[in-house]
């Protein structure tokens, strides 16, 4: 064989390698794309049991149930904070994203000529109302549902969805434990706080070289769970947080917490909370003379934060689950249509809800009206593995958690600029200890 053929063959082989990744499955099969250096207990011992290494199958009945006849509408549930919550603005965006997807699908003829209908439920009722709303959705005979943002809400809702066997797509709750429940009815299309925490740890400690980081976080589950992963990861890379201060929802004066933070002389500060409080904290921090670099959680990526923080926001870095400035033509079209329809820019929840709802619609179109079959498609790790939505490529792990790469958002001249979060530890990327086990 001629040398050039060898060259061609080798070249093809080299070209072929990336095709292995075309299914979107990441090579690193550490759970949650965790770099080896932060795997829990990994330096000391192997775990007896690794969970989420294979998807939980659904062995239940129901695939044989025929679709109903004479349906006038194909109902899809929506659950979000629409009234009486501090995050109504996020819920509204999420609803609008879902609505846009439904309207577009209906323009294309719905499901075999039957229009889709969104059954809208507010998740902020009295005491655990979210779960009770899922029961109502079951009574309404929805085929699947989409929601929500607050993890308290999502967690009670998934238990109901498991009992009632309704497929659920979550576009807004980044609580890592949400999918760590092994419920085979639930997928998440937004990257979780695990990814955000890894990104932040890498940015703060490795890239920016800080070592003494103080944290001020919301005293709710969003703050608690988000910080848990950050804190564990930071500790494992050798930098335990120097202090963890908390604030309550709706709190406006953070002097006490900030004074305590000041006393620890940190070299950077991380704020984990809603946009409004984050903005106020920033203001008060600077007013008190705390000039350290500030990092934040994903909910900071909001016009509300920029408005409150004003010029002080410049230089602030947070994570974001997608890149709103991407050239992705799908995203561009979405942004245009969304603005046309609702008169405002879509936020992260609108974009992910749009993607999530489109996946539900696509599943229904593919398998018809049967909850189990819709579930099967949503969770088969094939149909939507590598799905290109407006928010980018979806990469689902074995717990149906989206572990796609996240973005670092940095404020410059009053605007967020987005860059891909660098991989945390490229050296360890392919080397997987669990695979070797």
């Amino acid at each position: 064989m001629k040398a050039n053929h060898w060259v061609i063959a080798t070249f093809i082989l080299i070209l072929w390698c990336p095709i292995l990744k075309l299914d979107g499955q990441d090579k690193n099969s550490n759970y949650g794309k965790a770099p080896n250096e932060i795997l829990p207990y990994d330096r000391f011992t192997k775990a007896y049991k690794y969970f989420f290494v294979e998807p939980q199958l659904f062995y239940g009945a129901g695939r044989e149930i025929p679709p109903p006849t004479n349906l006038k509408e194909v109902r899809i549930g929506f659950l979000g904070p629409l009234e009486g919550s501090m995050i109504v603005s996020l819920g509204t965006q999420m609803l609008q994203g879902a609505t846009l997807a439904i309207e577009e699908a209906n323009k294309k003829g719905g499901y075999r000529g039957i229009p889709f209908k969104l059954m809208i439920h507010n998740d902020v009722g009295l005491w655990g109302a979210a779960a009770n709303e899922i029961v109502k959705m079951d009574d309404e005979k929805v085929w699947a549902w989409l929601g929500s943002i607050d993890d308290i809400v999502s967690h009670v809702a998934i238990r109901a969805t498991l009992k009632l066997e309704i497929p659920m797509v979550c576009p807004g709750d980044p609580d890592p434990t949400f999918t760590e429940t092994a419920i085979p009815w639930v997928i998440r299309v937004i990257s979780d706080d695990r990814q955000s925490s890894y990104g932040l740890v890498n940015q703060i400690y490795k890239k920016d070289g800080h070592s003494r980081v103080a944290v001020i976080r919301a005293n709710n589950r969003y703050g608690r769970v988000g910080i848990k992963i950050f804190s564990e990861t930071a500790t494992r890379v050798g930098h335990p947080m120097v202090i963890e201060e908390r604030f309550n929802d709706g709190e406006t004066d953070f002097k006490t917490q900030l004074e305590r933070i000041l006393a620890t002389s940190p070299d950077a500060i991380l704020i984990w909370g809603n946009a409004k409080e984050s903005g106020l904290i920033l203001q008060q921090m600077r007013a008190m003379g705390l000039e350290q670099p500030i990092y934040g959680s994903d909910r900071m990526v909001s016009p509300e934060f920029l408005k409150i923080a004003g010029n002080l926001a410049d230089g602030i870095m947070t994570t974001c689950q997608y890149n709103p400035n991407s050239d992705n033509p799908k995203l561009k079209a979405f942004q245009t249509n969304y603005f046309k329809r609702f008169g405002l820019e879509p936020d992260v929840f609108a974009a992910h809800a749009y993607d999530g709802m489109n996946m539900i619609i696509e599943s229904i179109n593919k398998v018809g009206l049967n909850r189990v079959l819709i579930r099967d498609v949503l969770t088969d790790l094939k149909t939507f593995q590598g799905y290109q939505g407006v928010t980018g490529k979806k990469v689902f792990d074995q717990s149906w958690n989206n572990i796609a790469d996240i973005w670092i958002a940095k404020v410059r001249h009053g605007k967020f600029e987005f860059t891909p979060a660098p991989p945390m530890d490229p050296k360890n990327k392919v080397n997987s200890k669990t695979e070797n086990y």
Partner: protein, 678 residues
């Protein structure tokens, strides 16, 4: 100047001065009385208000008396002894049936209700409704030998067929305690209908019937349904709940000797019909329910009432050993109605279900089975027959006497004086008026009918004037209301005088108004004689539980969960301050319904509020929770929207602990004594 002239002058000056004082003074007094009574002609007698309404002090003690108020009774197996429960006397009276003399007065608990004798006749069990226990009395030694703990408000009593278990009907907690007499311990509690009282073991010893007084709580507009609970004696479990439809206040139950028919007393309220109906008759009808046990347990209701004459407030019911006659005490009209059971059998055996339905409202049919209405002394309640069935003993509660009736001739043959005070005090007279239907159009009902135990009946009435279907209101309790004016939900009556004066007859009794003497007496009773029972269920000794203490903090809070100051007019404590938990003012709490006139509502007092469901002026809230979960979501009835479920539960726990200040004082004294042994 002559001495006489001097005297004349002095007298003259005094006279002039007296006249100068008298006329404006009289005018002032007139204005004062007029304002209090809302009339212009109430006699200007200071004593009628300022003397008879004294609740404490020496004067109060002097003008009032300690009555016995016999309530229920039992007859020994040999017929020689009567055992009479003296409700106000807090005693069991042992009476020689032959000599008609009281032999013994055995002190027992607070507000005793019922008595039952063991089959060997050696023991008596008496339920103490306000002590939450049963006194076990050794009848040979005539003393209390044991006290058995029960549920809340023990009333009716029954023994199991084998005599080993005692069933105690807990009238307030709506259940039956099953007590193992060998251990003297409660082994279980069975849920009954609402506010149960009477209980009876069937002649074959297999089942027990338990009557309920209050109806199931239903939304206004739905018909009244009250449960009759059937307990299987061998399994000691509830085997059935029978629905008594369109009826309530089933006080007692009796069986025919063969056990084929069960009889319960009942009232058929017409609360859904506007109260304007009173003039046409038909506000309340009174009768009995029959459980036709051989006929698939079908339920038939018949009336004691006749056109133009009602027999209000049935209480006791007994059936003669030959199964021929039933006696039912009509405590509101001082009569014992005699029912001919064979006639009843004849009537119901031929009747179709449709006919029976019409019978239940037919005032004309009672003549077919009522033999006689035997007159008695004031307020006949409990009934008991001699073992041979020849004598009927009637507890005349407000007479302090036992009437003895010959069951053949149906004549009163004797009256046993139990030895209560001879004089009738003003308040006692008031109580008799309260319990007597004579002041209502055709004797349809008395105050007691809608205010049983001087409390409330749990129903919502359409108290309309000319606008039918408007302003439906939940009956309010009269317990301890003397200090919590104004009255009526609208708060338009500033005094009880006004409340029970002119308007009362216009709106309610539809007869002549009470005479001023009667009104004074009635007011004296209402203000001095109606007390809240101790809150033994939720606050027996004044020491609040942890949950109640947390609830108290919420009740008294001035900042919400987010640290925001709650406006003063939106805090619980502002409108409901201790000791009565009312500021006695009118308020808007966003509860007006479409059928309500646009008015403010009187802030109700909250003592023993646990015992007064349903809640809000029109009874829309079935439970305390619903005041804030189903209603009041706009946070106008106190800020509650920020509360967690735990907090609401704590608040409700605290509200249920509220009780009359009388007990608070007593307990605080007790604690004081405890802490300072010297």
């Amino acid at each position: 100047m002559k001495r006489s002239q001097k005297l004349i002058r002095i007298f003259g000056i005094i006279l002039v001065l007296g006249l100068l004082i008298f006329f404006p003074g009289h005018k002032l007094a007139r204005a004062h009385v007029d304002s209090k009574t809302a009339t212009t002609d109430h006699p200007l007698l200071c004593t009628s208000c300022h003397l008879y309404t004294q609740k404490t002090g020496i004067i109060s003690k002097l003008i009032n008396a300690d009555y016995l108020s016999p309530f229920n009774l039992a007859v020994s197996a040999d017929g020689e002894r009567l055992y009479v429960v003296a409700q106000e006397g807090k005693a069991l009276l042992v009476v020689d049936a032959e000599t008609e003399k009281v032999l013994n007065k055995i002190s027992i608990g607070n507000q005793p209700h019922s008595v039952i004798l063991s089959s060997d006749g050696k023991r008596a069990y008496v339920s103490n409704q306000w002590s939450d226990n049963v006194s076990v009395i050794d009848l040979t030694a005539s003393k209390v030998v044991d006290t058995l703990k029960t549920g809340n408000g023990p009333a009716g009593l029954a023994l199991s067929a084998d005599g080993k278990f005692l069933y105690v009907v807990n009238s307030y907690s709506s259940d039956v305690s099953v007590i193992d007499l060998s251990k003297g311990e409660e082994i279980k509690r069975l849920t009954t209908g609402n506010n149960p009282t009477g209980i009876k073991l069937s002649p074959n010893g297999k089942v027990l019937y338990v009557t309920s007084r209050r109806a199931n709580i239903v939304p206004y507009g739905e018909p009244v349904v009250t449960k009759l609970t059937v307990i299987n004696d061998s399994t000691q479990r509830v085997s059935e709940y029978k629905n008594m439809e369109s009826a309530y206040m089933m006080e007692n139950v009796a069986f025919t000797p063969t056990g084929d028919l069960g009889f319960v007393t009942l009232i058929r309220p017409k609360n859904l019909i506007p109260s304007i109906q009173v003039e046409q008759g038909w506000m309340m009808t009174h009768g009995f329910g029959i459980i036709d046990r051989k006929n698939n347990g079908r339920i038939i209701q018949l009336l004691l009432d006749e056109p133009n004459a009602y027999y209000s407030d049935p209480f006791g019911i007994v059936i003669t050993p030959d199964g021929k006659k039933a006696f039912e005490s009509s405590s509101g009209v001082n009569r014992i109605s005699v029912i001919d059971i064979d006639s009843v059998r004849a009537l119901i055996s031929k009747a179709s279900p449709e006919m029976l339905k019409t019978y239940s409202d037919n005032l004309g049919i009672s003549s077919r089975y009522i033999i006689k209405h035997i007159p008695t002394g004031a307020n006949p309640k409990g009934l008991a027959l001699s073992p041979d069935g020849k004598k009927l003993y009637v507890a005349e509660t407000l007479e302090d006497k036992i009437a003895v009736i010959n069951t053949e001739t149906l004549e009163t043959i004797s009256s046993i004086d139990l030895g209560g005070p001879r004089r009738i005090t003003v308040a006692r007279q008031g109580r008799r008026l309260f319990n007597n239907a004579g002041h209502t159009f055709q004797d349809q009902y008395c105050c007691y009918t809608c205010h049983p135990d001087m409390h409330e009946d749990g129903l919502v009435y359409n108290m309309s004037g000319k606008d039918m279907g408007r302003n439906v209101t939940n009956t309010m309790s009269l317990r301890d209301i003397g200090d919590t004016p104004p009255y009526k939900w609208s708060g338009t009556n500033l005094t009880v005088y006004k409340q029970d004066g002119m308007r009362f007859s216009t709106y309610l009794t539809r007869t002549e108004t009470f005479s001023y003497k009667d009104l004074d007496a009635l007011v004296a009773f209402i203000i001095t004689g109606i007390h809240n029972p101790p809150n033994l269920m939720y606050n027996p000794n004044g020491e609040l539980t942890e949950a109640q203490l947390r609830g108290k903090a919420i009740f008294e809070r001035s900042v919400d969960n987010y640290g925001k100051v709650i406006p003063e007019n939106n805090r619980c404590i502002t409108c409901h301050p201790a000791p009565y938990y009312t500021d006695k003012k009118l308020a808007y709490v966003s509860t007006l319904s479409k059928t309500d006139d646009s008015i403010l509502f009187d802030t109700p007092h909250l003592d023993n509020i646990y015992a007064s469901p349903p809640y809000l002026h029109d009874g829309r809230a079935a439970t305390l929770e619903e005041i804030w979960t189903k209603y009041g979501k706009d946070d106008k009835h106190g800020l509650a929207g920020d509360m967690s479920k735990n907090q609401l539960n704590d608040l409700v726990a605290y509200l249920k602990s509220l009780r009359s200040p009388k007990y608070e004082n007593k307990d605080s004294k007790k604690h004081h004594g405890k802490n300072n042994p010297n």
